[in-house]
């Protein structure tokens, strides 16, 4: 009894704060928690019932892990897992290096006005949707109309390259497109951190006679390392999910490219649009978020081991 009373007292005491979280909490309940019961579909063979969705769930047969099988039991399943992880690894590593590099250069440019203009330019792709990007890419790669084949034509290459049929170029095109879209944004995040570094460090270093390179290595990079670690942990959490638009719309769903463009998300989409099997797509989603969760926890734990300050939570 007493406990209940003190609980209500606490609630009363915190009423302002509770009021503040109320709208958000309602949203989370409605749009995030309420739908979670649907996860059970991943373990059922979904069948429609005239009495609505809940009756459907209830009356569908329990099949255990059968819905997960298509993610594991073929050669392709191995390829898509490999593609997803490898691409994401490249994106994380290359994205990190390039973004940090560009950020440092931006901060070091003598003419700050130019630096601002470059930033504006580089940020532009970040605001585009993948459909728009896929049109952009097509204007370059179209076999009979594209800019690249036109240019190759000027150099006397008469045989136009059928870009959308040649798998060997695509790992580069995918990575390039992803970097093109992401670097500007990434570098500005790091630039913000660099601008925030206490200037006294640099002044002291200059008095000690440190050159530019030494300053960067000994001041800039160590100072932005915590940010690097946190962003990397978050990216690792998504290593099992791929940008659907990048891997589906940009290569125009070209079959000959699947060996290098098929990732978990596109595989699930292609496999299940034919059958509209929501059980299997729910299963795939669950699998991706579970692995992502485990990986975030693991990286976070490792980062924490190195330095408490690096941990995300």
């Amino acid at each position: 009894m007493n406990r209940i009373k003190s609980f209500f007292q606490d609630v009363y005491k915190n009423r302002v704060w509770l009021l503040m979280v109320l709208p958000g909490t309602i949203w989370l309940l409605l749009f995030a928690y309420l739908p979670m019961f649907g996860t059970v579909i991943a373990f059922k063979n979904f069948h429609y019932d005239p009495n609505g969705f809940f009756a459907s769930i209830q009356n569908s047969e329990w099949v255990g892990f059968e819905n997960f099988a298509f993610l594991f039991n073929t050669n392709d399943a191995w390829i898509i897992t490999r593609n997803t992880i490898l691409y994401n690894l490249v994106f994380i590593v290359l994205g990190l290096i390039l973004a940090v590099f560009v950020a440092i250069v931006l901060s070091e440019l003598a003419n700050k006005k130019l630096s601002k203009i470059y930033q504006t330019g580089m940020l532009f792709p970040h605001f585009l949707s993948w459909i728009v990007v896929s049109y952009f890419v097509f204007t370059f790669l179209s076999v009979d109309r594209g800019l690249l084949n036109n240019i190759l034509g000027w150099f006397g290459v008469d045989d136009p390259i059928s870009w959308y049929n040649e798998a060997k170029y695509w790992p580069f095109i995918i990575v390039l497109t992803s970097m093109w879209k992401g670097i500007g944004y990434g570098s500005i995040v790091y630039l913000a951190a660099i601008v925030g570094i206490d200037k006294n460090y640099y002044e002291a270093a200059m008095i000690d006679g440190a050159n530019k390179w030494q300053q960067i290595r000994n001041i800039t990079i160590p100072m932005i390392t915590p940010l690097i670690v946190i962003l990397t942990i978050l990216n690792v959490g998504r290593i099992f999910s791929a940008d659907f638009g990048l891997f589906y719309q940009v290569p125009r769903d070209s079959g000959t490219l699947y060996s290098v463009t098929n990732v978990i998300d596109t595989y699930v989409y292609r496999g299940l649009t034919t059958m509209g099997d929501i059980s299997m797509s729910t299963a795939a989603g669950l699998y991706q978020s579970l692995v992502g969760f485990a990986l975030v926890m693991l990286t976070n734990y490792l980062a924490q081991k190195v330095d408490k300050e690096y941990a995300l939570f």
Binding site: L30, W180, Y269
Partner: protein
């Protein structure tokens, strides 16, 4: 699940203000110029490396803009010229035909523009308010249940119920179908932004100012409105920019919930064309049936013109946001 990836991707890797620091200096700075000058002396390449780096970054920045200019040029090229010469940087014959084609659809396009703008503005205001309130509460030590509420936000980053249950909640509980709220509410909150803003508030709104306000007898809500919000403008602006971007580029919620043509936003018009083409590719219809469909699919130049008009407003708008954007990311880390 597909939807989730899309959602996340639009907003990939938001910023995390990191360094602890004193914000006040930075915020109450009427004499920006003198501070800038100080920065200039510390950083700055010279001579050949500077030139080299300028060329490097300059060309990368150009690369980022170029495809858009190129698409504009294509959209202004005569359709027959396109068929003969391909996409040229300097077309043989220019033509406004594509825009004339779009002009025929001006009612629909204007309507879609209006929808997109209304959704983007309303949605951004809505989501920034909700996220800021939530994040501020869980950033304060006085709030006893902050741990619990942090967790319920965090947990949603890891699991989602999938598309169908989400759809059911929106259509059958909330009756959002064919309502503009169907385009606003689903994107209103994002656990990721909440956690970012929480960190931001923790590190850049010092407890000491709040304490003095509390002693003066101000209520928490008043403190939030009068002190916290002005103090956090750059952070809020950053979140606002993400929201704007998310709303502007969203087509998926329209696909799910909107049947009324006068509620279709701009991006989803572009997507509809793509989907219709895809449909045509996969279905062969007998007799004249596909003619109805064919007439709904624009030709190359017109498609590019669609891309241009759906991208142009955000391309014009974001440079104005940009200064807030950078300082919003910086603010937490400034130490001077």
């Amino acid at each position: 699940m597909w939807q989730n990836t899309m959602k996340i991707n639009q907003n990939s890797s938001p910023p995390t203000p990191l360094h602890k620091g004193n914000v006040q200096n930075q915020l109450n700075q009427p004499n920006k110029k003198s501070k800038r000058k100080k920065k200039y002396t510390v950083h700055g390449l010279s001579g050949f490396p500077n030139l080299l780096m300028n060329i490097l970054l300059g060309s990368f920045a150009l690369m980022c803009i170029f495809p858009f200019l190129y698409v504009i040029i294509i959209s202004l090229t005569d359709e027959k010229t396109l068929a003969r010469n391909g996409y040229q940087i300097l077309p043989e014959i220019w033509s406004f035909e594509a825009y004339r084609y779009l002009w025929q659809m001006k009612d629909q396009l204007l309507q879609s523009y209006t929808i997109t703008i209304v959704v983007t503005v309303l949605g951004t205001v809505f989501s920034v308010a909700m996220i800021a309130l939530f994040a501020y509460a869980i950033s304060r030590k006085q709030f006893k249940y902050r741990g619990f509420f942090t967790f319920i936000a965090f947990f949603t980053m890891l699991f989602s119920g999938g598309l169908i249950p989400f759809y059911i909640v929106a259509t059958q509980f909330l009756h959002l179908r064919n309502s503009i709220w169907a385009l606003i509410l689903p994107l209103a909150m994002n656990a990721f932004y909440i956690l970012i803003m929480r960190t931001f508030f923790q590190r850049s709104v010092p407890e000491s100012i709040l304490e003095s306000a509390r002693i003066d007898g101000a209520s928490e809500l008043r403190i939030f409105a009068k002190i916290v919000v002005p103090l956090s403008l750059p952070g809020l602006a950053t979140i606002a920019l993400f929201s704007t971007l998310g709303y502007w580029n969203d087509w998926f919620n329209a696909l799910l919930f909107i049947d009324e043509p006068n509620l279709v936003p701009l991006q989803s018009m572009l997507m509809k064309i793509e989907n219709n083409i895809e449909f045509l590719r996969q279905n062969s219809l007998a007799g004249g049936a596909q003619n109805d469909l064919l007439s709904a699919i624009p030709q190359d130049a017109a498609k590019m013109a669609m891309v241009v008009i759906s991208t142009l407003p955000i391309a014009i708008a974001y440079p104005f946001f940009q200064k807030y954007f950078v300082s919003g990311l910086t603010i937490g880390g400034v130490k001077e």
